[in-house]
Amino acid sequence: MSRDIKFTVNVDEYLSLNKYEVDETSAHIELVDEPSDEEFDKLIMVCPAALYKRDEEGRKSFDYAGCLECGTCRVACGDTIIKKWENPQPTMGVEYRFG
């Protein structure tokens, strides 16, 4: 049974203000093939960039492109559904202008 999580905010819009150099060729974070609902919902709660999403039908999606490289998902689910967590390739990823 997955949690009924309500949110009113569109974080993607906020992330669009950040500066990124997105690595289109390789993902620096990878999930296992069939992540469990329970573990995935944890990541929905803790990822500050809202990269872990579920649509109305409950379908899961994850996009590393807006990653803030904090490592929270690695700490929360590094032993369960996060298969790989590496730093992005050289010069890639987020670049904070304020921080």
Binding site: I5, F7, L43, V46, A50, C70, V75, G78, E95
Partner: protein
Amino acid sequence: MADFDAIVVGSGCAGAVAAYELAKAGKSVLVVERGNFAGAKNMTGGRIYGHCLRAVFPDNYDEIPFERKVSHERISLMSPDSNFTIDFASDALLKDGQESYTVLRSTFDQWLAEQAEDAGAEYIYGIAVEELLKDENGKVTGVSAGGDEITADVVVLCDGANSLLAEQAVGAPKPSAAQMAVGVKEVFELPAEEIEKRFQCNPGEGAAWLFAGDCTHGTFGGGIIYTNKESISIGIVAGIEATAEKATVPVYQMLEDLKNRPEVAPVLKGAKLVEHSGHMVPEGGITTMPDLIADGVLIAGDNATMCVNLGYTVRGMDYAVAAGQMAGQAAAKALDAGDTSKAGLQCYVDALENSFVLKDLRQFKNVPNFMEHFDRMFCGYPEMIRDMMNGMFVVDGTPVPPMKKTMMPIVKGVGFMNLFKDVRGAMKAL
């Protein structure tokens, strides 16, 4: 013969200062920073206490690009329909050696890196260290970065809260979700005079504002607001385990709700969002601190859990600067003695033990556990305070009962024993 006397991994508060000390001592130093400039991957709430920087930069302290001097300490207890705020100002907060400043890491870290470079440290930017090199006895002998192997007699590892290398360096396991908090922060631009008006501050001065209670909707964590020169930082710091297991909304929704609170929205009105950032905070304290040295390597800063969240203030950057300074000095001393083995680097641990860094962290060793189980601070006390304040301030024309009659049932609601236990617990932990 190694390529460098020392390699420093990461140019944040600890790394840049360690590199500065090593270069100042005449050592050849290479800093490998994964951001395209120092600070590019770093984030703070945040505020730094000045004393640590006075110790490192006595001659050019006045040139440090601080944002604002913190003249107002604010703490709020927030219930769903009320907010109780303490605003403290004091001459003592502004005195040299006791003062603190808000900072933005992109600017601040670049200044620190400049000091290291000016002292003679070499920098490689935009490449992360993938691996530490070790000899057949397990002594760290350098780093592998971007496919190149670079060697050094000693490595100072300052790769931050999300350290991917501390395990290789000193055997530190990946931190558990209970030991770490996640921070989400947004920066809003606003003209300087407007900030000073809204926070009732003199030019160049500002506020540090912490929130507990409904800002996380009752789970372990809190809200933060810091005033910068021409922007306001607002964020949420929430325990990862507590949020993953018990929160009712995601962390970014907590931040959105905090921004929309009637007590907060007016200070952000008309301000322009310019950045949305995230970072982890090591909140486990000294009981989760890994070994700080091994053969050929020292660690300093967030990767060594040098951080405390006391509820009324959060510290980490001053510990990192001081630890970076001691790491750089100890590494230089070990290089001079020709012994960068674990025994040769013991002087780093000794220096930390004799300093406020480990003394404070020892003093606060029970705080993380106390805070994590201080449920009533996040849900219970904010409501109790609300009811007491309502009892005093709400006037509706009905005859006023004696104060005791109003207050006693409210305190009873939480329970005298609970209140007593929590006060005693807080006193013991802090």
